[in-house]
Amino acid sequence: MPSRKIVYPYIPNSEPAIRAAMLKEVGAASVDEFYANIPAALRFKGRMNLPAPFLSEAALRRHVESLLRKNTTAQQHLNFLGAGCYQHHVPAVCDEVNQRGEFLTAYAGEPYDDHGRFQALFEYCSMMGELLEMDVVNVPTYDGFQAAATALRMAGRITARTRVLLAATIGRDLLSKIRDYLKPEIEIVMLDCHPKTGGIDLQHLASQLNSGTAAVFFENPSYLGFLETRGQEIADLAHQHGALIVVSVDPISLGVLTPPVNYGADIVCGDIQPLGMHMQFGGGQAGFIASRDEEKFVMQYPSRLFGIAPTRVPGEYGFSDVAYERTSFAKREEGNEWVGTAAALWGITAGVYLALMGPQGMKEIGETILYHSRYAKQEIGKIKGVRTDVFAAPHFKEFVVNFDGTGKKVAAINKALLKKGIFGGKDLSREFPWLGQSALYCVTEVHTKDDIDRLVSALKEALA
C-alpha cells in the first residue's frame, strides 16, 4: 500500500481539498449520494481484486517494457509471414502524422471543430479513388474482413438477392467472418477452383449463377498469392445474370496491377494495412470499400462518406457527411448495418503514404516486390523436393511452398528456421489440407538478396 494519499496525475480533482470544495458546492455530503439510484444489492462490495498498481510513471514503464521485451520482433528476426498482415516499410512521415496529438486524440467533432480531420479523410478517400479508379470510397471500416463482409451485404441490398458465390481459395478466417456476418440474409456457395491455376473454375461458376445471385467474390491477389487472371470472363458471366462482382484487392499491388474496376468489378474492398501501418500484431488493419458513383450503390454504404462542399466564403473548401440519413447514427436499425468507431487514423495514415509514394513510388514498389518475390520463389523452388509452382499462375508478393517431396512437415521446418532467427511462411496444412504440407511465404520490398539467400540456405539445412 502507498504510504501517502494518492493524488492521481490523470485525475485533477482527486486532490482532497478540491474534491471537498466541489462536493460542498453541489450540496452533497459524499460521492455516494450520486449513486443513490444504484440499489444496495447491486453495489459491488469491497475492493476489486486487481494487481497492485505501478503508481509512478517510471515503475509503470519498467513493468510494461519488461513484458514487451519478452517478444522477439520481425526486425530482430527475418520475417516471411504475410497472410493478411504485411511487413512493408513504414515511411517516417506516416508515423509523424499519426502520432500528432491533434489527430491521435480527436474523435467525432463537427466540421467546424475538426475541419482538418474531414479534409484529411476526404483526401485519403480521394487518393484511394485514384488508385482504384473509382469515384466512391468510404471512411475506413475496421479491417479488410469487415470490408468484404459489408461489401457482400451491400451487394445483397443493391440487387435484392440472397446468394453469393465465393472463390474456394479465400482465407479460412475471412470465410469464417463472412459466414457469420451473412448468416441472417445471404446463402453462401463455394466455387471450385481450377486445379492448375487456382483461379475460379468458370464452368462451375456458370453452373452456379442464377437470378438469385447477388455477387461473385474473389480476392486478387488471392489469399494463396496467385493472381486471378480471368477476372473479365468471371465478370462477364456474372453480369449476364445481373450479379455484381466484388473483388478484394491488395492496394500496394496497384502501381503495377490494374485496378479491379478494369476487369469488371462493381465493388472493390480490401485492407489498407500495407499502406503505412506497422503490423502491430494485427492491430494495423483497416478496411476500404469502393464503388461507382451511383445512387443505388452510395445509398447502401453503412460507413461515413465525406464530401466536399462550398462554404459561404468564395473559394473556401468545406467538408462534411454525404447522405448521412443512410447511417445507423441517423436511423438506428433502419440505417444500413451500423457505423461507429473503426479505423480513421489508419485512413489518414494511408493518405500520407499515397501522397509520399505518388504514381512513381507505387509503380516502383510494385516492381521491387515482384522482383523480390520472384527471386525467392525461383530460389526456393530449386531446393530438392520443394515446389513453388503449385499454381501455374503469376503471383504478387506471396506464394505457396509445398514440402511434400521432402517428407518433412511445415511445423518442423518452421521450428528449424526459428532456431536460425527466421519466421518461415504460414503453415497452410490445417487451413488447406488439400495442399498437403505447404506454407505461404511473403516477400516484400523490405527484404534484400542476402535475406532471401539466408532463408534459402536455412531451408536447405532444415531439409537436409
Binding site: K70, V93, E110, E130, M134, G351, Y371
Partner: protein, 526 residues
Amino acid sequence: MKNITAERYTNGKPNLRRFHQARWDEPVIFELGRPGQRGILVPEAEAEIKSQVGDPLAGIPESLRRENPPHLPEMSQPAVLRHYVHLSQETLGADFNIDVGQGTCTMKYSPKVNDQLARMPEMTELHPLQDEGTVQGILEIMYRFEKILKEISGLDRFTLQPGAGSAAIYTNASIIRAYHASRGEAEKRDEIITTIFSHPSDAACAKVAGYKVITLYPDADGYPDLEALKAAVSERTAGLLITNPEDTGIFNPKIAEFTRVVHEAGGLCSYDQANANGILGITRAREAGFDLCHFNLHKTFSTPHGCGGPGGGATGVTKELARFLPAPLVDFDGGKYFLNYDLPESIGKIRPFYGVAPAVLKAYAWVIALGADGLREVAEVAVLNNNYLMHKILSIRGASAPYATGKPRVEQVRYSWQKLFEDTGIHSDELGIRAADFGVHYWTSHHPYVIPEPCTLEPTESYSKEELDEYAAIIEQVANEAYTDPDLVRTAPHNSTVHTIDHHPLDDPAQWCITWRAYLRKTVIS
C-alpha cells in the same frame, strides 16, 4: 510594468479565451506538388536479382497490368509533411480542449506514456502469426488484461477481438444467436429488445444479426419502462441489449428486474458498457444478472480515439457462453501463454487475428497505473465532475435536464435547450456551432431527439474544477448570446477554420463529391 494579468479577469473571474481555430486555407492535396517530385524513394531490386528474374511482369497478362499511372499527388517530403501538419492543426483533438462536449464518447486523457510504450518495436513490429514463443510478452498482456476485465465485470471470459464498441455489440448479438441455435430455438427467437436511450448500435447491430428490434421508450420519469418490457417479452425474445446508465446519465435502478424478466422469457441479457466510466468498482454486470457485456477500450480505458479509431472492443460472457466466443482465446498452461483455437461452437471470426493489440496494451497500462483504488477514484471523480457541471449548466438560462428531476446523474447528462429555443428560436445545434468559436466541442445527441433540443455532456475524471468552470462559462456565454444577439449565434462559426457549409450538395446524388475525381467530374466550369 503594466498589470496585464489583471486585464484578463472581470469581477475576479477569468475572461473567456479569445480563441481562434487554426486557418491555413489549405488547398486540397491534389493541387499541391509538381510532376516529377518525390516524397520518398523505394528500394530498388539488386542487380543480381534483376538479372536472375528478368522481366518482373513476365507472365502477368496485359489485361492485368496497370495501363495508366494513378493520378496521385507528386510532392516532396516536406510538402507532404506541412500539408498534413496544417490539417492536424485544424483538428480539435482532446489534447487541445476541455473535451467534455462529446457526451457518450468519454473523452478522457490518453496518457502519453502509454502511446510511447505502444510505439516500441516490441509492439509495432510483431507479426500476428509469429511462433507463440516469440510473442509471450503481448500474449501475457492480453491475458492479464482479460483478467482485469473479468474482475471489473464479474463475468467469466473475454475476447479482445472486436475492433471497437459496435463490433463488440455485434459480437454479443451473434453469440446470442448461436446460443439459441444450439438449443434449436434460432427460428423461434427472432426479437431483440433495447431502449431508445441505449446507443443506436444496440438496435443496429441486433438488426444486422438478423433480429427484429423492439425499442422501449422511457417511463414518465425517464427510466427504462419495466411495464413496457414485461409487455414486450415473449417466447420470441432472443435477448436484451441495454446500456446502464443510459445515455441520459440516469442509472436504471430496476436493472436486475429487467434481466430477470428477460431470463424468465428465455432470453439472454447483454450489457452495453460503453458508459462504464462512472461505475468502475461500484456496480458490475454479474450482480445485475447479465450474461454478456462489452467495454470500449477507447472510452473507459483511455486509449486515444484516433479521429474515429482504431479503438478496441472487449466482449465478456458467462462461463456457459464462453464456448461461442470468437477464436482464438488467450490461455496460459502454467508455463506459457498460448492461442486457444479449441472452440468448436465459436461464432467465427469477428476480425483478422486477435484484436487491436496496441489498444489492449494501452488499456492495460492505464489500469495498471491506477489499480483498484485508482479505478474507483476514476469513477467517483467522473461522477462528481458530472454532477458539478450539471449544477453549473442548470443555472444557465434556458437549460434543463428532463427526467429524474432532482436526482443525481452518473457520468453524463442529456440536457435540453427547449426553453431557450422557445424563447429565442435558436436550436441546440446552433449553440454547438457557436461553442466551436470558443475552442470546445459540443454535441447535440444521437437521433431521434426524444429529449427536445438536446445536448449531451460528459466531463470524465480528466478535467479540473477550473476547466469545468471554464466550459460552463462558455456555454453560458453562448446561451446568453442566443437571448441578446441571436444573429451572432445563427451566423456562427466566426472563429473556426471554415465558415458555414452549404450542405445541400451533400445530399444530392447529382452534386455530391465523395472523392476529388468525382469533384472534377461534377464541377461546373463556367
